[in-house]
């Protein structure tokens, strides 16, 4: 059998070569460079674990990982839970009561932030959150809540929460689309049977919807978590890691070391730690998914 399949190996060559060039070689190089002191030009000088020793003693590094923890909450957990509820409402209520076109319209609306370029959404949000002429503060003042107006992106006490809010808005469409496509493959007779048995909407949601779209749930959770760990563009456009590093994230921290400080070895160490973390989390999620499928 294995011998008969050997001929198919030829078809794998382009993919393997592309993976080698785009993933494996750069990864190996990054790991190697992380053990050197290098400005990006000239000969790297081997320094062993110096970059890692420095990294684990760097308060900015820990601060960036603390921030990423909150961003995982904003980009993975909240959108996944909200997306699940929204998808169920659109599919099971809006779609049935008002027609699929309305459900599709809402779905597209939620998904729109995913399609608009990051730079554009970043600039729009920086206008909305501008302390003096931003729409948010103007609205708060207009409804008599001027006391709640804040310097959303310029105050270290609020900047990260503001970025989190933007990221929830940005991410919400992805789980909605994924879960709605998952819901469409559930046998309608299950819902009909539940209706006949007198199940409430909440019971149907808990016992059928959540249970049946578990595979999508895992996919969404893993992809959004990885996206949160890698977040760069929105932070770059909205705050550049500021004010006073309060919104610093690992990828932007690595970028600063690579391109602004010419500390390529140190930047590679940050990237390597981030890669290890992402791979470990992906592995953990896949194991959990595999186990849950086995239980089913």
């Amino acid at each position: 059998m294995a011998g008969r399949n050997r001929g198919y190996a030829l078809y794998l060559i382009p993919g393997v070569l592309a993976s080698l060039l785009v993933i494996v070689v750069p990864l190996v190089m990054t790991v190697y460079v992380s053990f050197t002191k290098w400005t990006g030009v000239g000969d790297p000088r081997w320094v062993g674990f110096d970059n890692y020793t420095r990294l684990f003693g760097d308060t900015l590094f820990w601060q960036s990982f603390g921030n990423i923890g909150l961003l995982v909450f904003a980009m993975a957990i909240i959108p996944t839970l909200l997306g699940l509820v929204l998808a169920a409402v659109l599919f099971d209520y809006v779609g049935k009561k008002f027609g699929d076109r309305w459900a599709g319209l809402f779905r597209s609306g939620y998904y729109l932030p995913q399609v608009i370029p990051v730079a554009v959404t970043g600039i729009i949000w920086s206008w909305i959150l501008h302390p003096s002429y931003g729409a948010l503060n103007r609205i708060l003042e207009a409804v008599g809540l001027g006391g709640l107006a804040k310097n959303w992106l310029g105050d270290p006490d609020y900047a990260l929460y503001s970025v989190m809010l933007v990221m929830i808005w940005f991410q919400i469409g992805y789980p909605v689309v994924m879960f709605m496509s998952g819901l469409s493959r559930i046998d309608p007779s299950l819902y009909e049977a539940a209706d006949l048995d007198g199940a409430t909407w909440w019971q149907r949601f808990r016992k059928i919807t959540v249970h049946m779209i578990r595979p999508e749930f895992y996919v969404v959770l893993i992809t959004t978590t990885i996206a949160a760990l890698k977040i760069f563009g929105q932070v770059f456009v909205l705050t550049k890691g500021g004010p006073s590093n309060s919104t610093l994230v690992p990828s932007y921290f690595a970028y600063k070391n690579f391109f602004e400080k010419a500390q390529v070895g140190y930047g590679s160490a940050i990237s390597t730690v981030l890669t290890v973390l992402i791979v470990a989390l992906a592995f953990l999620f896949l194991r959990l998914q595999h186990r849950s499928e086995e239980l089913r």
């Binding site: 400005t39 030009v41 302390p131 270290p156 900047a159 500021g242 004010p243 602004e260």
Partner: protein, 435 residues
């Protein structure tokens, strides 16, 4: 196992290939590439800026004097070149000539890495040394550690820049205020605005403007020796000394007095400039690079400039540099182009377009406002009053100062903590240089 080994081998091979440094040629390069049929030129000045206008003219003149040579001009972004220059200049995609940022952290770093051509011979042979004052030559020369001020010439500036105070005459008249001539008068002016519920200073805390105000304040207690210590590492700098302590403390006081809005921590330079243009703030402390733009965009009120009162030293320097990459295939043509940018015709055009030329005949500058700007720059330059910029001493220091001044603006850092924060990377860079 085998597969991972081959991956490693492939990685090592590719790494070896990418790390190969070309040997720096020390041959005479004055005629190198003279017979090239094209000149690839990069710069990042907008087509309507003074530099953009002048350099487009220079390209025109170059084409006229070099028939048969194609000029391949590629407009880039400042950030694009700032962050990728060393990778590009280390590849075969390097242009023949480009505009590049000046200072230890930028041009100095590239010169140290052997990525830039030594222009010392051309500098004297073509008389550029006569056209540039000694303080303007500081940013052109770099030693073997990439520290500016001495050593070989690696770049040629052809315009200047400095930080000044822009003010809205209409708002000054409204509160019957005169242009301040001393630091005390300046604070009285700002007090008057605060008393009338007007925030005096337009500030961009998310980018360079805030740190330039801090530096301007520190310079009010400094002399040339201190600037040389800080910028050229002549002697060790005491960050808790009178200069920076005064700068940080006074900056924090200005925030608490309401001269600088707490909201400005997240404001970008562009927003700051626009707010001044819209007449929302009476004063803006920033660079001469705003001058041409304000001249063309401010229609609703009269405005003017004055130097930071009481200071003899001001943030400022030569403008960005023309550099010739070591891998340039048309070095001789690149020198010719630089020479054209130094010609009186191009320099006068630069001055009349709102820029600060370094080698123009003052009589050729016809616009009175531009004339005033050029005269002010020349006054500072000849008095050795250009103190460079606060973020120059170390790679990545710009971000350190942005984060630090943001902390002062929003009150999350005391002046003392701010000084500790900015001292650390500065001193780390010194130890990296073995100083």
């Amino acid at each position: 196992m085998l597969r991972s080994r081959s991956g490693l081998a492939a990685g090592a091979l590719l790494l070896a290939a990418t790390l190969g440094l070309t040997a720096c040629s020390s041959d005479d390069t004055s005629t190198e590439g003279a017979d090239a049929k094209s000149l690839t030129l990069w710069h990042y000045e907008g087509p309507n800026s003074a530099m953009g206008i002048a350099w487009n003219k220079a390209i025109e003149l170059f084409k006229a004097s070099h028939p048969g040579v194609e000029v391949k001009f590629e407009e880039k972004g400042f950030e694009q070149i700032q962050q990728n220059a060393q990778m590009i200049l280390n590849s075969d995609s390097a242009p023949d000539i480009l505009e590049y940022n000046k200072g230890n952290a930028t041009a100095g770093l590239l010169s140290k890495q052997g990525l830039l051509t030594d222009l010392s011979d051309e500098f004297t042979k073509r008389g550029w040394d006569k056209k540039l004052s000694s303080s303007l030559q500081t940013t052109a020369k770099y030693d073997e550690d990439g520290i500016m001020g001495n050593g070989k010439v690696f770049g040629v500036p052809n315009y200047g820049e400095f930080v000044t105070v822009y003010y809205n005459k209409k708002m000054f008249d409204q509160y019957k205020l005169a242009v301040p001539t001393s630091f005390d008068e300046f604070t009285k002016v700002m007090d008057t605005f605060v008393q009338n519920k007007v925030t005096p200073l337009a500030v961009g805390g998310a980018e360079y403007p805030a740190q330039q105000i801090f530096y301007e304040l520190a310079l009010s207690k400094s002399d040339r020796a201190f600037v040389n210590d800080y910028q050229l590492y002549t002697n060790k700098v005491d960050f808790k000394g009178p200069q920076f302590t005064y700068g940080a403390q006074t900056f924090a006081d200005w925030v608490s007095k309401g001269y600088i809005s707490k909201d400005s921590a997240g404001i970008k330079a562009e927003d700051m400039g626009v707010s001044f243009t819209q007449g929302k703030f009476p004063i803006l402390i920033s660079g001469s690079w705003w001058y041409g733009r304000f001249a063309s965009e401010i229609k609703d009120f009269e405005w003017g400039t004055f130097l930071f009162p009481g200071n003899t030293l001001h943030p400022g320097s030569s403008g960005n540099l023309w550099v010739v990459p070591e891998k340039s295939k048309a070095k001789a043509l690149a020198y010719d182009f630089i020479d054209i940018t130094m010609q009186p015709e191009v320099q006068a055009l630069l001055g009349n377009s709102g820029g600060v030329p370094v080698a123009a005949d003052p009589a050729a500058i016809t616009d009175p406002k531009n004339k005033e700007l050029v005269e002010t720059f020349n006054k500072i330059s000849t008095a050795d009053g250009l103190a460079f910029y606060p973020d120059w001493p170390a790679p990545g220091y710009y971000d350190v100062l942005v984060a630090g001044t943001q902390g002062l603006i929003n009150g999350s850092k005391t002046p003392d903590a701010f000084l500790d924060e900015i001292a650390k990377p500065y001193n780390e860079n010194l130890s990296d240089l073995g100083k």
